[in-house]
Symmetry: C2
Subunit: 265 residues, 2 copies
C-alpha cells in the first residue's frame, strides 16, 4: 500500500491550532495544510458560498494526493461536511461529531447541559445541536454566535478589557445556565480560553481541534499515513503571516508557506 499524507484545511490560519493538536497525536506524519487566507472569513457567509469554497479547498488537497481530509474549520464542518463526503471518496473528518461526542460524555456525568459557541454560520446551521441530540436527546443545548471573536483574535485582542467586555455581553445569559461543557466551535476560540473560562467558571471548555485530531487518529489506520514533514499552502500571499502562525502553531513556518490560486480548483 502506498502511504499518503493527510490534508487539513481551514478558512484561514485558525486551523493551525488544529495542526498543533494533529502533531501531538500523529507525531511525524506528513500533512498538507491549506488556509484560504484570500477569502477568510467563512463564518459570516452563506451556506452556498461556504460549500463552494470548501469543495475547492478539498479539490486542492486531493491534487496533493491526500489519504484523508481533516476539516479544521468549524463553519465548514457545520455547514458542508455531508456535501464534501458526498463528493469525494477519501475519509473526511469534521470537528462537529468528535467534539459533540466529548461534550456529551462530560454532560452525561453532570447536569446534562452543553453550551455551543461558534460563528454566525455555525450556530445558524444547528449542526452541533443535531449531533448532540443524536447521541442523547435529553441533553439541553444552548448555542450562541460570537462573531467578533475571530477578528478580535486576528487583531491580537486576546487579553484586552474590550475583549472581556464583548465576551461577557455574548455569554452572560449562557453563564447562568449551569452548563457542564462549553464547546469552542471555532478554531480561533481556544486562543480566548482564558477570557471565556472567566465567564463560565467551573464548566469544561471543549477544544474542537483537539477532539478532531484525536478522532482522526483513531479512525485512520496510522500505517496508511506517510511519514514526513508538514507543507503549508495559503490563497493570499504568504508574507505577513509569521506572527499569527507563531501564536497558533507555536513555530515559525513563514519561510515555507506557499501560495496557491484556489479559484482554479
Amino acid at each position: 500500500m502506498i502511504k499518503r499524507p493527510i490534508g487539513i484545511f481551514d478558512s484561514g490560519l485558525g486551523g493551525l491550532s488544529v495542526v498543533s493538536e494533529f502533531k501531538k497525536v500523529f507525531k511525524n506524519k506528513r500533512y498538507i495544510y491549506f488556509g484560504d487566507t484570500a477569502r477568510v472569513p467563512y463564518g459570516s457567509k452563506s451556506v452556498e458560498t461556504i460549500k463552494r469554497f470548501a469543495l475547492q479547498d478539498c479539490r486542492f488537497l486531493l491534487s496533493k494526493d491526500v489519504a484523508a481530509i481533516i476539516v479544521a474549520c468549524g463553519t465548514v464542518s457545520a455547514n458542508a461536511i455531508e456535501e464534501l463526503q458526498k463528493n469525494f471518496a477519501v475519509p473526511i473528518v469534521g470537528v462537529v461529531e468528535p467534539t459533540a461526542n466529548k461534550a456529551v460524555e462530560i454532560a452525561m456525568n453532570g447536569n446534562g447541559r452543553i453550551a455551543v459557541l461558534g460563528t454566525a454560520a455555525t450556530i445558524k446551521s444547528g449542526a452541533y445541536e443535531k449531533a448532540i441530540k443524536k447521541l442523547d436527546d435529553k441533553i439541553d443545548v444552548f448555542s450562541v454566535a460570537c462573531p467578533l471573536f475571530v477578528p478580535l483574535v486576528e487583531n491580537g485582542y486576546i487579553d484586552k478589557p474590550a475583549t472581556s467586555m464583548i465576551a461577557r455581553e455574548y455569554l452572560e445569559d449562557l453563564a447562568k445556565k449551569n452548563v457542564d461543557a462549553v464547546i469552542l466551535g471555532c478554531t480561533h476560540y481556544p486562543i480566548l480560553s482564558k477570557v471565556i473560562g472567566e465567564v463560565f467558571g467551573e464548566s469544561v471548555l471543549v477544544n474542537s481541534g483537539k477532539e478532531a485530531a484525536d478522532y482522526a487518529y483513531a479512525l485512520l489506520e496510522e500505517k496508511e499515513v506517510e511519514d514526513g514533514e508538514g507543507e503549508y499552502y495559503v490563497s493570499d500571499e504568504p508574507h505577513g503571516f509569521s506572527e499569527t502562525a507563531n501564536v497558533l502553531l507555536g513555530e515559525d513556518i513563514s519561510s515555507c508557506i506557499r501560495r496557491v490560486n484556489i479559484e482554479e480548483f
Copy 2:
C-alpha cells in the same frame, strides 16, 4: 452619444454608504453596484490579492457597459487604483485623491495637520500621505490602522461601550496631535462618526465616500450618464443583507440584489 450607467464597487456592502452620497449628487442617474461579499474583507489582505480581486470587480462592471467606475473601497483606492487605470480605458475614480483634496483644504486654514484612519492595507500603502504631500508637503500626516472598526460595524457594535474603548485605544495618541481634519478612509467608518468624533473633539471628520461622489460628479460630464435606477450585485448569496443595506443606504434593496460569480471575471 450613447448614455451609459456608472459602476460602483466595494469589497462588500460598506460601499452602499458611497451609493447614498452618489444619489445625492447624481440624482436619478443609473448605476451598477457590485459588492464582493463572498471575499470581504479586503483590508486585511495582501496588495497582490487586493489587485487581483479589484481587476475582477472592474471586469464585471465593464461587462455591464459602465461609462466610468467609482472605487468606493478605501483599500482598493489606496492599493490598486493605478493598476486599474492602467488596465481599463474608462475613467476610474478612487476615494483617496478627492478626500486628500478636502482634508488639505481644511488643514491649510488650520494647523496644517491631518489624521488618516483606514484598514491595515490602506495605512500600510501610505497612499493618503503621498496624495496629501503632493498637494502640500508641509502638512503633517498621522496615520492609524483601525482594523477592528469594520467587524464592529458589520456586527452592529455601533454605540457599544466596547467600541468606544477600542476607538480610544486606537486613537488616543492621535487625539493629542491637534489635527484639523480626520480622514475616514474606509466606507464603514462614517457609521462610527459619533464614537470617532468623541475622541477628536473639534477636528473635522472627512467622509471619503462623500468626497468621491462629489469629485466623480464634477469629473464626469453629467450628460454622458444614463438616467435610471440602481442595480445591485454581490458575490455571496443575496439573502440576509437587508439589515446591513438598510443601515448603510437607508432603503430596503433586499428584493433586488442579484448574485454574480465574480471568480469567472
